[in-house]
């Protein structure tokens, strides 16, 4: 740690950042906090921390851990220098991954494209990953399948699962809330239609809402942090169909009509169940988890059943 230049006037934040980057460029292997301190001794620790945080969060600096402590290193410079130093095979793989863009690429496909043996590719991938040139992203489309893409690229929805995933974790609660909101919207629409006392045909027709309408309603609710597409909302509406609460009709429509996709409009409406819960589930035996262990004269038997006892007392 030599060559310490003392600069008195570097207090402006922008200057401060560019000075840190300058320092990093001088030491491509990275600088410690001490280097910056020595470079700008008059700097308040707070100012220094803020500047570094900003640089880290904007992706211009990397934070590395070395036996000398924490190191700050320039991202691009380091990448460029690493790839420069890498052999041709590494360059080839890097190129293939770069071409795959935000969808990423599966290691087996890298093998087909590069014609390198899989063991070799795995080695290269590891090395590129450790240099933070690329990253592996778990694809939600196929569990346990990792795809590779450049380190600073935002993965595509098809990889991350879109609106329903955060960090590859499925946001079940979010989906449930949307499911309920969509249902509420359609139910209100159906209720209003029923109260309108129109003829039966009109009544039914006015109970329908197009996927566009539902989408608009959900967007305006502002419950979603991420931007939802109409397709996203249709996915939610489909779960309502599987819940038996909603019915779908597809109409052909003129291209250009609001909510029209490929000449069709999807209409949804809330429906009542066809049959009430059946008699069996009104008895303890209908919901009994140990039904198959129940035998006359056994420890679990109709005579000794505590579910029945409890149920009869109620």
């Amino acid at each position: 740690m030599t060559d310490v230049v003392v600069k008195q006037e570097a207090t402006d934040a922008v200057d401060l950042e560019s000075r840190i980057i300058e320092l990093c460029q001088q030491f491509p292997h990275g600088i410690t906090d001490q280097v910056i301190q020595n470079d700008m001794p008059q700097l308040e620790p707070q100012q220094r921390a803020m500047a570094i945080n900003r640089l880290l969060s904007t992706g211009r600096l990397d934070l590395l851990r070395s036996n000398a402590g924490l190191l700050y290193r320039l991202k691009d410079a380091q990448a460029a220098s690493k790839v420069k130093g890498a052999d041709n095979q590494e360059k080839l793989v890097y190129q293939i991954i770069e071409d795959a863009g935000n969808k990423g690429i599966w290691s087996r496909d890298i093998r087909y494209k590069s014609n390198l043996p899989l063991t070799e590719i795995n080695k290269i991938l590891k090395s590129l990953e450790s240099k933070k040139l690329i990253k592996a992203v778990k694809s939600v489309a196929a569990s346990k399948k990792k795809v590779y893409m450049l380190y600073n690229i935002e993965p595509d929805r098809s990889v991350t699962g879109g609106a329903w995933y955060s960090d590859q974790d499925f946001e079940a609660e979010f989906v449930e809330i949307l499911n309920q909101q969509c249902c509420k919207f359609l139910q209100q629409k159906a209720d209003a239609a029923q109260e309108s006392k129109q003829g039966p045909l009109l009544q039914r027709n006015s109970s329908y809402a197009s996927s566009h309408e539902v989408w608009k309603y959900i967007c305006e609710l502002g419950i979603s942090k991420v931007e939802l597409s109409m397709e996203d909302v249709e996915t939610i509406l489909n779960t309502l169909i599987y819940d038996g609460k909603v019915e779908r009709t597809i109409l052909s429509a003129k291209e250009g009509t609001v909510g029209c996709v490929d000449g069709y409009i999807k209409l949804f409406r809330a429906i009542n169940p066809l049959v009430p819960p059946t008699g069996l589930v009104r008895t303890p035996c209908g919901v009994c988890p140990i039904f198959h262990e129940c035998h006359e004269g056994g420890d679990i038997s109709p005579e000794t059943c505590v579910y029945m006892t409890e149920w009869m007392a109620f």
Partner: protein, 221 residues
Amino acid sequence: MAGRGRGRGQMTFNIEAIGFAKGEALPPPTLQPPPLFPPLEYRPLPLLTGEETDYLLALKQELRGAMKNLPYFIKPAERKKDIERYSDKYQSKGPADNAIDWAPDWRLLPRELRIQVRKATKAKKAVVKTQVPKPEKSKKASESENLEMLKNLETLEQKEQQAPSDEDGAEEEEKEEGEEAEEEVLDEEEFEEETDYVMSYFENGEDFGGDSDDHMDEAVY
């Protein structure tokens, strides 16, 4: 096996295999076996209620009582009793195996099934007669005679089942007796009054499982 003699001697298997890291605290030993009836995750829905349900319930319980009093309800022939009971002589004569209490249309049944249709039994006429004065006794029962009354309970119960509820019935019976003497008839009191089953909804638990050691007709609530 491999586990023996190592740090955790009581383990006969490698605990890491079931997901515990070395040195990690194991869950406390379970002191109780898993419950025979684990808590219910979902409860049964409430039963349907309402007028229709209530009517159906009444119908069902009536029908059950009524079936028991029809001649198709065959009570097994009495077994040899170890004890002679006081009530025995008031019991309508035990249903005999060799006769049927109703009149099937034999024209519609295989010949081999033809079985004697029950003949009138004089014994039962006697029952009716001897029972008529009985209520007098209990009428006189006073406070101090409670004990005696309880003793008579069983008798009375039998009487309830067999004696006609009004004297007219008994008179008719007697009037008819002469005419019927030669006929193959069965006394009317063999079967309980229809009104009884209207009220009865409990049946004899012992019908279940087939152990009819002590025969009690369905309780009248």
